[in-house]
Symmetry: C2
Subunit: 359 residues, 2 copies
DNA sequence: GCAGGAATGACGTACGTCAATCAAAGAGCC
DNA sequence: GGCTCTTTGATTGACGTACGTCATTCCTGC
């Protein structure tokens, strides 16, 4: 049988009340007595029954996900994973609230963050670019005792508790190795596309990409990044012109997650399947592109894993409990057509309640 | 506030007892009444508080992992993941017992399996080759109400509830694409090594490998598999002879998980780093081989994920609950030096208790 | 309309923990 | 020794669910 608090009390020769005080480090216990209790705990190998504890405590974890209101495929995938996970974690007394902020408005974001403590939120997963305003908002949240994790995009110079996502520089390096090795012939050029080079991810990926390209594939010339800002027309023109100007272009590296515009553009230019095309994030479009051969590889992170990891970490932080780093490490996945995971129907479809969804 | 069973009772206009009967589908409720209760559940959005339920039920999940007693790196990694997971899932009222069986003795295995029900085990994760004896043992376990999942190696013609692992044919296809694309020049040959071609994994991987090779890389000749049976000397001789006989060998595909013998052998032959070397399973040796450049890619599955998934599935099956397929899908991961996950120190080191470890 | 079985209700206890109370015992100080 | 102030003990009622017993009500067929 698993030992309980009563066993500790008996073993340590103290009362249940004292054990409780020690367990929840409440004041009113002499250091020596506390040590005796700890010793008893160690001796009989007691582990707190979190379920019973949470039941008694009437605890529920109210966690907020704060995301930009951009309507990209990636965000949509993330939201899908979030609703799935939210449904499952009902069993874990977890209650997820979603907040969206105007992508280009750090002050609006700060306002949303500032309002979270009053909404009873005890932990926040935040996907946002790092700005001074955001830095301050995070500090203020932390001071109020909320746990904060950075999601997908790290916020290294803030007081966030944890980062859930991949090392984008390593992701860029990975992309470079694949590009370099997939290009069979000798000298060639590679085009680099990006939604916006203001995003930390894009910069880091590019950095990693260039590192490897210079060191391991000196015969391959890498063109400067083009920022498309989500504008298909701009992309189409540029890709067409560049391909015409440099006939030796053998590959395209797409730093961002928007792959649809690129593949349709290559299609219209009649160049689909002729170039090595590598991009990021396994969105539905990327998936079809891999299946059709329009893309050769996608570097991605498992979004479901990202969301679940964020939830676990936030719960652990809220309890000041430990986290299992090996489980929380998000892997940089390489996906080609052959190891494409089967696409599953969306989850049980529990929407986050409307009341919570609106702002 | 989250709705409780009492709310259901009030809402449906029945007593608590009836609600309970419906929830745990016990007999003694008219179909019409049961439907009314279900309707009330739907209406108020009740979700059972699994924690409280398990607490009340005094339930704990006693799950067994049954593995061969081979001392390979892969098994060792698996065991590591298992002890880590076992430690964590103490909080989930889960209690893992480990059983090892002599690798070549199906009858011993059957004996071990047969003894599980009496040990109070409610679910079994089994890694073993499929034999008639095992098939019967599994059927008998299922009849006694135990849940059975196949681990790593599938048992498709048995009555197992679920398979936790990867599609090895797809893994072989993936290996083929990488081999083919990494070999820069035109025509070449590829050597294939295997511990034993009797294992289902090896056969399936080879199958997938050949499929892709024939279809997409007709210029590459694939040699027949050599079975090394874990004997380094044999491997060394064969690799040396084959390399001498076919000077156009450009790559080696290692079907099994033992990579150490291969890399040391290439080292001694002075051919390390000159061939495209691709293998399976991210063991510590494979990791060093990737880091040193002795291997080019490893196709692997996340062992931690495999173990946790098996635990989740077994718990769910034991409760006749649903499982979240998207979370339980094990991905075929491609690992190269650039996306090698950081190696973490082993977990908190809770050994499975000795009493349980010894058969 | 009545027996007989099936369906339902009422109630109590338990699970392991938390949190609060009040009382009692001990320590430290003058 | 008498006084605070701190530490400890004993007890109790939740939390949401399971599950048993026993009593009662509802159908169904005759």
């Amino acid at each position: 049988m698993r030992p309980t608090v009563n066993d500790i009390a008996r073993e340590a020769g103290v009362s249940l009340a004292t054990v409780d005080r020690v367990l929840n480090d409440r004041p009113g216990v002499r250091a020596k007595t506390a040590e005796a209790v700890q010793e008893a705990i160690r001796r009989i190998g007691y582990v707190r029954d979190v379920a019973a504890a949470n039941l008694a405590r009437q605890r529920d974890y109210r966690l907020a996900f704060v995301l930009p209101d951009t309507d990209s495929q990636f965000i949509r995938t993330l939201l899908g994973a979030l609703t799935d996970a939210g449904h499952l974690s009902a069993a874990l007394r977890t209650d997820v609230v979603l907040r969206r902020f105007p992508a280009e408005d750090p002050h609006a974001l700060a306002g949303i963050l500032a309002a979270l403590p009053e909404a009873g939120v005890v932990g926040v997963a935040l996907m946002a670019p790092e700005t001074p305003v955001v830095r301050d908002a995070i500090r203020s949240l932390r001071q109020k005792g909320l746990a904060v994790v950075a999601l997908v995009s790290d916020l290294p110079n803030t007081e966030r508790d944890h980062f859930v996502g991949i090392d984008n520089r390593a992701a860029g390096r990975t992309a470079a190795v694949l590009t370099g090795r997939f290009l069979r012939a000798g000298p060639a050029r590679v085009m680099v596309l990006s939604d916006s080079m203001l995003l930390r991810e894009s910069i880091e990926r590019r950095l990693g990409f260039d590192e490897v390209m210079q060191a391991r594939f000196p015969g391959i010339g890498v063109l400067p990044s083009l920022e498309t800002h989500g504008q298909g027309a701009l992309l189409h023109d540029f890709v067409g012109q560049t391909l015409a100007r440099y006939p030796d272009i053998g590959g395209i590296y797409s730093l961002g997650s928007g792959q649809r515009a690129l593949t349709t553009c290559l299609d219209r230019l009649g160049r689909a399947g002729q170039l090595v095309v590598i991009g990021h994030e396994l969105t539905p479009h990327a998936r079809t592109a891999l299946e059709s051969g329009a893309m050769d590889a996608v570097i991605t992170q498992n979004v479901g894993h990202v969301v679940r990891s964020a939830l676990r970490v936030l719960r652990a932080k809220a309890d000041r409990g430990p986290i299992d780093l090996s489980q929380e490490q998000i892997r940089i996945e390489i996906v080609i057509r052959e190891n494409l995971p089967a696409s599953l129907p969306p989850g049980p479809g529990t929407r986050l309640s409307a009341a919570r969804e609106e702002n």
